[in-house]
C-alpha cells in the first residue's frame, strides 16, 4: 500500500465516502466533471477513485486562487499536480484549454468543476463553456458526471472548520458530445447528468 492509498483511505474514512466500483468506470483518460461547493471536492473525488484511476487524475483549478500565497502554490503544484488555468485575463497566449489538452494528450485524466467556482448554498449553478470546448477538442474522451453530496455542509465556502458529516460521491454513466450538438444543448445535458448522478447510489 502506497502513501497515496493510505491518504485516500483516510480521506474516505473521515468523510464517510466509498470507493467507486472499478467495473463502472471508463478505462483510460477521462474528464470527471462535478458540482463544486467545497475545497474538499477535488480531494474526495481523488480519494473515491480506485488506485489505477487515482494515479492518473489531475484537478483543474483557477490560477488566480491557487497561486496566491506560497502554501496554496505548493499544494496545487506539488501535492495535487493541478492543471492551473487562467480564469480572468483569458487571451490567445494563455488559452486555458491548452494546458488541459496537453494533460489529456499525455494520458492523464482531469477533474473539472464546470460551474467555475464554488456554490455557496450547494445548488448547482449554470455550467461555463469550458467543458464544451474540451469535449469538442477531444471528442473521443468520455466525460463522467459526478455528484458530490453534502460537501457544502462538511466544509462550506468561507469556513475553515469542518463538520464531520457523511459525504457521498456518485458517478453517472459517461456522456459524449453529440454530432453537431450546440453548446447550450450540451452544457444543459451535462448539468442534467450531474443532477441525475445524485440518484445513482452504488450498492
Amino acid at each position: 500500500m502506497s502513501a497515496a492509498d493510505l491518504l485516500a483511505g483516510c480521506l474516505r474514512a473521515v468523510c464517510g465516502a466509498r470507493l467507486l466500483p472499478a467495473a463502472a468506470l471508463p478505462p483510460g483518460p477521462a474528464i470527471w466533471f462535478a458540482n463544486h461547493s467545497s475545497h474538499l471536492d477535488f480531494a474526495i473525488i481523488w480519494a473515491a477513485l480506485p488506485g489505477p484511476w487515482r494515479a492518473k487524475v489531475r484537478p483543474v483549478a483557477g490560477r488566480d486562487y491557487w497561486e496566491a500565497g506560497p502554501l496554496r502554490r505548493w499544494l496545487a503544484r506539488r501535492v495535487f499536480h493541478a492543471v492551473l488555468i487562467e480564469r480572468q485575463r483569458v487571451t490567445v497566449a494563455n488559452n486555458p484549454l491548452e494546458p488541459m489538452l496537453a494533460a489529456l494528450d499525455a494520458g492523464d485524466a482531469l477533474i473539472v468543476f464546470p460551474e467555475g467556482t464554488r456554490s455557496r448554498d450547494g445548488t448547482l449553478q449554470p455550467f461555463k463553456a469550458g467543458l464544451y470546448h474540451l469535449a469538442r477538442a477531444r471528442p473521443t474522451i468520455p466525460l463522467v458526471p459526478v455528484y458530490l453530496d453534502n460537501l457544502n455542509r462538511i466544509l462550506p465556502k468561507g469556513d475553515f472548520l469542518p463538520v464531520p458529516l457523511l459525504a457521498g460521491v456518485h458517478a453517472g454513466p459517461p456522456i459524449r458530445l453529440g454530432e453537431g450538438e450546440s453548446r447550450e444543448l450540451f452544457l444543459g445535458r451535462a448539468r442534467q447528468a450531474v443532477l441525475e448522478a445524485a440518484q445513482n447510489h452504488f450498492p
Binding site: 455542509r153 462550506p156 458529516l165 457523511l166
Partner: protein, 312 residues
C-alpha cells in the same frame, strides 16, 4: 483490569452464542448450495459483524472503564454524524454543529470518565440546550430556526446523552465487590441487543401480523412477543451476574426490552420520514451505527436511573 470469574462467564457465554450463530449460518449456507439467498447472506454478514462488535466491546471493557468510555464516545460521535447527515441543516448551523461534534461530545464523555454525576446529568439538557441555539442565532439565519435547533438538540440528546448512560453505569456506587459495574453494562447491552436479535429471529420464523406497518414493515407481533419474552428470560437467568434477584432481573430485562423496541420504532419513524432504510452503511449487514444503537439509546437512560434509584 483482570476480569473476575462472573464477567468471564458472561463474555464466554456471549462467545458461545456467537459460535452457535456462526455454526447455524454455516449449515444454512451449506444447505443453500452455491447460491444462498439474500436473507442468508445478510445473516452471514450480521453474524460476522457481531463477532467484531463483541470483540471490540469486550476489549474496551477489559481496560477497566477508560476503554469503555472512549468506545462509547466514538459510537456517539459516529451515531450523531449519521443523524445530522440525514437531517437537513443550513449554513448558519455550521459552527453550532462544530461545537456539538468537537466540543460537547468529548466534554460530555470526559465528565462520564471523571464520574461527575451532577454535571453529567445537566451538561447537555441545560448547557448545550442553552448554548447551541445561541450560536445558531448569532449566525443570523432565521429560516426554519426552531426546526433546525430542535434537530441539533435532539440528535445530541439521543446519540450522545441517552447513549452515554450505558458507560455511565460504571460510575454507580453499587454494593458488593468490584466488577459489578462492568457486569451491569454487559447485562444492559446483552439484553438490549439479544432482544433485537431474538425479535428478528422469531419474526423470521413465525412472523405473520405486522405490528407497526407504517414505521417498521419488518417488525411483527410474533417477533416482538417472542423476542421480548425470550430476552426477558435470558435477563432473568443472568441475575447471578447482577445486583438483582431473579425477578428483579426479569422486570429490568423486560423494561430494557420494551424501551429498546420503542426506541427502534422512534428511530424508524425518523428514517421513514427522511425516506431512507438505514442511517448508514458502516456495519456490514446491519446498516449504520445508529441502526445498531437505536434500541440501546432509549433503554440505557431508563435502566441507569432505575438502577440508580433502587439499587444504590
Amino acid at each position: 483490569m483482570i476480569p473476575d470469574q462472573k464477567t468471564l462467564w458472561l463474555l464466554g457465554g456471549i462467545a458461545g452464542l456467537l459460535l452457535i450463530a456462526s455454526l447455524v449460518t454455516f449449515i444454512l449456507k451449506r444447505r443453500a448450495g452455491g447460491a444462498p439467498g439474500p436473507v442468508i447472506l445478510n445473516l452471514d454478514a450480521r453474524v460476522k459483524a457481531w463477532w467484531v462488535m463483541v470483540l471490540v466491546f469486550s476489549l474496551a471493557l477489559l481496560t477497566g472503564g477508560t476503554g469503555s468510555v472512549i468506545l462509547f464516545a466514538l459510537i456517539s460521535f459516529l451515531a450523531l454524524r449519521e443523524f445530522v447527515t440525514l437531517t437537513p441543516t443550513r449554513p448558519g448551523d455550521h459552527r453550532t454543529l462544530f461545537w456539538a461534534f468537537f466540543v460537547l461530545v468529548p466534554l460530555h464523555y470526559f465528565i462520564v470518565w471523571l464520574q461527575w454525576y451532577g454535571l453529567f446529568a445537566i451538561l447537555i439538557p441545560v448547557y448545550a440546550y442553552v448554548l447551541l441555539p445561541i450560536r445558531s442565532a448569532a449566525a443570523g439565519d432565521c429560516e426554519r430556526f426552531l426546526e433546525r435547533s430542535a434537530k441539533t438538540q435532539w440528535g445530541l440528546m439521543v446519540c450522545v446523552y441517552f447513549l452515554s448512560h450505558a458507560p455511565a453505569l460504571l460510575m454507580l456506587p453499587l454494593p458488593g465487590p468490584e466488577g459489578a459495574n462492568a457486569r451491569l453494562l454487559i447485562f444492559l447491552v446483552l439484553v438490549v441487543q439479544l432482544s433485537d436479535v431474538l425479535q428478528y429471529v422469531w419474526g423470521k420464523l413465525l412472523g405473520r401480523r405486522k405490528i407497526a406497518p407504517t414505521l417498521s414493515p419488518n417488525k411483527t407481533l410474533e417477533g416482538f412477543v417472542g423476542g421480548a419474552a425470550s430476552a426477558t428470560a435470558v435477563g432473568a437467568a443472568l441475575w447471578w451476574a447482577t445486583p438483582f434477584n431473579p425477578w428483579q432481573a426479569a422486570v429490568l430485562a423486560l423494561i430494557i426490552t420494551l424501551m429498546g423496541f420503542f426506541g427502534g420504532l422512534v428511530m424508524s419513524a425518523i428514517k421513514r420520514d427522511r425516506g431512507v432504510k438505514d442511517f448508514g452503511s458502516m456495519i456490514e449487514g446491519h446498516g449504520g451505527m445508529l441502526d445498531r444503537m437505536d434500541s440501546l439509546c432509549f433503554a440505557a437512560p431508563v435502566f441507569f436511573h432505575l438502577v440508580r434509584y433502587f439499587f444504590t
